[in-house]
């Protein structure tokens, strides 16, 4: 990377106020909590209904069954023993009824009271309804009762039970239900608020990170709890996204660094040459020559500019959009055509070895530029009579290997480590034309194609060892 300010450092932190916290009804936490409360209450209501049916309902059904059974038994007695037996049975039952719940009344057709513990025939009992629930005077106390009327030939029978105790029980039950429902509501609300608090607490770091980034500090990342839950997954994907954004920003920043810093050198060179021409030129022709040189230098600067743009575009991965299927062999043929002629002109020999077809996916212009840079270097650094080699093949794992080797001076170990740094030029090459951007582009192009660049001795042990640049490009993607 270039020298310059450390990449990714925040330029300034803008005072940024995030969006206002959501109103209660907008809060997702609140909505979750409300849903939770509702579910809890529905469960409680179902539970209470079942309980009610099982207790109060059962008591009621028992009472009705008891009255019916009693009536059937008395009717049986009347059939067997007539009116007197019935009267006896009633008297006996009243006498045996300790809890004083049973109610009987037997009247003759004329309205004469024959037996029972009820003073008068209630008016409601004349209705068509045989089962009644009415309020009567029982032992001088008004009570709620359930009565069953049975008409026998010449007789009218009323059998019933005092309900007041059962009603009391029912009231107690109702109270209990009300209390427990209230308690459930409180527990539900408490739980809901706990859920909301927990949600808020888990989301807070993400929120704070996002605010920090919106404020300009791109180095922030969402802290992970390590539980591997949904929130951690959200945080992880946010962090991945941020890493990507940061690397893109670095690419953009790299361009401005290059413009601000790296272009100064060639501009300074061009400027000093022009100034020198202005001061020292003797006559029209020399001045014209100096101006022509100046224009050439400016063209050189715009070429550097273009190269820098390509490098940073490639480094930032912004050129992935230009990826298309291509046949590398066709391009190798063209490039060997171009530089084979250039090598010939310098009395060098370019040997090639690549298959007839080498399909892959990539950026045609960038790959061409990378190969051109490598071959241009090779032609430049190889002495006349030397041999260049351009080879390509597909390795077993699908990786495309592209290699350019020369019989030039090669690179020393420490130069190799620095080769590919923008504007770096190894000592022996300082006098050669060039700007030191060739390998940076090759490296960036290789990275863009999911690959790497390896620098090796072309002929290990020989002197000079030559240089072999191997590009390993991922064949797919």
């Amino acid at each position: 990377m270039t020298a310059g300010s450390p990449l990714g450092a925040p330029n300034r932190i803008l005072p940024y106020r995030g969006a206002a916290p959501p109103r209660l009804t907008q809060s997702a936490g609140f909505r979750f909590a409300a849903f939770f409360t509702l579910m809890f209450l529905v469960a409680a209501v179902v539970l209470v209904s079942v309980m009610w049916w099982a207790t109060a309902g059962a008591l009621d059904r028992q009472l009705v069954a008891a009255i019916r059974a009693d009536t059937v038994a008395l009717t049986e007695r009347w059939r067997e023993g007539g009116q007197l037996a019935l009267q006896d049975a009633i008297q006996e039952r009243i006498a045996l009824d300790i809890s004083n719940e049973a109610i009987y009344l037997l009247l003759s057709d004329h309205g004469e009271r024959l037996a029972g513990n009820l003073e008068t025939w209630p008016a409601e009992a004349n209705s068509d309804e045989s089962f009644l629930r009415i309020r009567i005077m029982h032992d001088g106390i008004p009570t709620d009762a359930r009565l069953l009327r049975r008409d026998l030939p010449g007789l009218r029978l009323l059998v019933g039970r005092d309900e007041s105790e059962r009603l009391q029980l029912r009231l107690t039950l109702t109270e209990g239900v009300a209390w427990s429902l209230g308690a459930s509501l409180i527990v539900a609300l408490l739980g809901a608020s706990l859920i909301r608090r927990a949600l808020d607490r888990r989301l807070e770091p993400t929120f704070v990170t996002a605010l920090g980034i919106a404020g300009g500090d791109l180095s922030r990342r969402v802290p992970l709890s390590g539980q591997g839950d949904e929130f951690d997954r959200l945080g992880e994907s946010m962090n991945t996204m941020l890493d990507r954004i940061e690397s893109l920003m670095q690419g953009v920043k790299g361009v401005s660094d290059a413009i601000a810093h790296d272009l100064r050198t060639p501009i300074a060179r061009a400027r000093s040459k022009l100034e020198e021409g202005l001061i020292n030129a003797q006559g029209q022709d020399e001045l014209r020559a100096a101006m022509e040189q100046g224009i050439q230098d400016l063209d050189g600067i715009s070429r550097i500019f273009q190269a820098l743009l390509r490098i940073t575009e490639a480094e930032a991965g912004a050129r992935r959009a230009a990826f298309a299927p291509l046949d590398l062999s066709e391009m190798l043929l063209d490039v060997s055509d171009f530089y084979g002629a250039a090598a010939e002109a310098r009395e060098q020999r370019l040997e090639t070895d690549f298959p007839a077809s080498l399909p892959m996916v990539g950026d045609r212009d960038l790959l061409m530029q990378a190969m051109a840079n490598l071959l241009d270097n090779a032609v430049k650094f190889t002495p006349p009579g030397g041999v260049l080699r351009l080879t390509a093949r597909r390795l077993e794992d699908g990786v495309v290997e592209l290699a350019v080797s020369d019989s030039g001076p090669g690179l020393s170990a420490q130069d190799r480590a620095r080769a590919g740094v923008r504007f770096f030029r190894a000592e022996p090459s300082r006098h050669m034309p060039g700007y030191g951007l060739g390998l940076s582009l090759v490296r960036a192009v290789a990275q863009l194609h999911g690959g790497t660049v390896l620098l090796e001795d072309a002929i290990p042990g020989a002197s000079p060892p030559g240089l072999c640049v191997r590009l390993l490009l991922s064949g797919s993607t």
Binding site: D299, L309, D334, A342, A345, M368
Partner: protein, 226 residues
Amino acid sequence: MRILLVEDDAEVARFVKKGLQEAGHTVEHAGNGRDGLFLAASEQFDMLVLDRMLPGGVDGVRIVETLRGQGNRTPVLFLSALGAVDERVKGLKAGGDDYLVKPFAFAELLARVEALARRPTVDAPATRLRVADLELDLLSRTVTRSGRKIDVQPREFRLLEHLMRHAGQVVTRTMLLEKVWDYHFDPQTNVIDVHVSRLRQKLDKGFDKPLIHTVRNAGYMIRAEP
């Protein structure tokens, strides 16, 4: 030729206008997109040279799209500071015929303008190209000079074809790289020169009159007279 130049930078506009006039063309200049579109739509031009980024709310791409939408097929050369590949593609897709990135050498602009003006017409495809005693047969893909067959490789054939289609016009090295090889990259060295000189050797061997001429600071030209 009557050329419309739409360019907002006064200095570049002056320089381009002067240069084109010196080359014998009539040049109208508009300083913003709105005026440019108005002129292009209302008057007859042989060629439009458009800056891509223009003030006035109408940029170069919009002008071309509007004109093409109206069935106006005047050749368009884009002149732009937007040099990225996808910008070039955008310009050409909108209906532009060529794309030149700023900064540029005037010779390059002139060569491209004149090449565009004399593009081969689609409805009358030539099968034979001729310059002096050199003949190129597009069907049998053979080259003969004074009746003598000259062996050329396929690339050399295409190179010669391009030069001959633009006989009498300057063809720059970049134009050759783009049109003959279809690459947009910076070859660093004069890779085209080597090919042209190889072709030149083949054509001129045994003849005393050279046909391919080097135009200093510009490119190449094929023509009969020296």
